[in-house]
């Protein structure tokens, strides 16, 4: 009995493993359908050139418009220059530091002022602004005040401002013969990296 069953199973398996007869036109029809499908292209250029539908929300348009306004504003207030007085706050907000400090090099300024409560550096590299945050000296002890701040390459004039009112030339730097405002200035030459 067992031998008959095995024989029957082998016949069934042989039958199932055999080729399935199909119409000779099936291959042609399948290949025609494949060739008719759009070609799948790869690569960055293909992605750029392939047309696609993009859905944009009103919020996206708002962000795009805001970006354009900011970049146009940068063009207007370049180098702190603005035509419209109403844009001043924007200019100040965008350029807290002059753009030419981009290539600046760190320079250490040191002043010995034992009795001082506040020491800052003002010069043509920071718009002669003694309140500029980057140029506020810190007390290092023993009456020594120092700050390391960015200065662009070139010849510059500067001064220390003690207690917001007294202008003091740097005793370690060359003085500039500049008596336009009756107060001494010091000079510094910052060499370019090039």
């Amino acid at each position: 009995m067992r031998g008959d069953d095995d024989m029957r199973m082998r016949n069934i398996a042989r039958h199932l493993h055999g080729p399935v007869p199909v119409s000779s036109s099936v291959d042609d029809r399948v290949m025609a359908a494949v060739r008719g499908m759009p070609r799948h292209r790869f690569g960055f250029w293909s992605r750029l050139t392939t047309p696609r539908t993009v859905t944009v929300t009103p919020l996206s348009w708002g962000l795009l418009a805001a970006s354009l306004v900011v970049f146009a504003g940068i063009g207007v207030v370049r180098e702190y220059q603005v035509l419209d007085v109403a844009a001043k706050p924007i200019a100040s907000a965008l350029f807290h530091q002059p753009p030419r400090l981009v290539h600046a090099r760190p320079v250490q300024f040191v002043l010995v002022a034992p009795g001082a409560k506040k020491v800052a550096v003002a010069g043509d590299f920071n718009g002669w602004d003694p309140t500029h945050a980057a140029y506020q000296a810190k007390q290092r002890g023993g009456g020594v005040w120092s700050v390391t701040a960015p200065v662009p390459p070139g010849h510059h004039r500067y001064s220390f401002v003690v207690d917001d009112s007294v202008w003091v030339a740097d005793p370690t730097a060359p003085r500039v013969m500049d008596n336009d405002y009756g107060m001494p200035n010091s000079a510094i030459v910052v060499e370019d990296d090039k």
Partner: protein
């Protein structure tokens, strides 16, 4: 975009090149001073002079609490000196060279001496040589001596970095009590000799 929008965009894009004003000046100067300084700056811009030094000069005056008249005078004088400097240095002079040369003229260097320094420097920048001259003058070296020494150093082909060392050495000598002219001459002689000497060969 409608016509109004296009006009606004053009104004925003081209305003900086068309006689724009500096926001810092507007906030730190009174109205009459601001107007006068702006007129000088506009003239300088039309003359193709650098305007940043003029803005800085006005800002310096405002920071130091000077009155408007003094500020306008200082800015005007600087524009005249920069114009003279540019005439001597030539059209290819950089903004920094013009600014430094204007300072040198203010320090007492003549236009003739400025031209000598320009010629001695060849095609190189004159910012550092002029800074050294001004430093020497500021340290009581006579103008003629300071100019002659720097011309000599430039002709010997001394580099800017060596000029900076020279400046520091002279300053150090003077601080220790040396006579300024003698210190400047002595240090210059050493630098010229070193520049003229053949480069030392490494010993094996």
């Amino acid at each position: 975009m409608n016509a109004r929008g296009r006009a606004l965009l053009a104004l925003m894009l081209f305003a900086p090149a068309a006689g724009a004003q500096d926001v810092r000046l507007a906030s730190r100067l009174d109205k009459p001073t601001f107007a006068a300084v702006n007129a000088i700056i506009d003239s300088a811009r039309h003359a193709k002079l650098p305007t940043a030094p003029l803005v800085d000069k006005a800002l310096e005056g405002a920071a130091k609490g000077s009155d408007g008249e003094k500020i306008v005078t200082a800015v005007h004088q600087l524009s005249i000196r920069m114009s003279s400097a540019r005439r001597v240095l030539g059209a290819r002079a950089t903004a920094d060279e013009i600014k430094t040369a204007a300072g040198a003229l203010d320090a007492g260097i003549s236009q003739r001496d400025l031209a000598r320094i320009r010629a001695a420097a060849g095609n190189g920048p004159v910012t550092m040589p002029l800074a050294v001259v001004m430093d020497l003058i500021g340290r009581s070296v006579p103008v003629a001596t300071a100019t002659a020494l720097v011309v000599q150093l430039e002709r010997a082909g001394v580099k800017d970095s060596d000029l900076a060392i020279y400046q520091r050495n002279v300053r150090s000598d003077i601080d220790r009590g040396a006579d300024p002219s003698i210190a400047a001459r002595t240090r210059a002689r050493g630098l010229v000799l070193r520049a003229a000497a053949p480069p030392a060969r490494p010993t094996e």
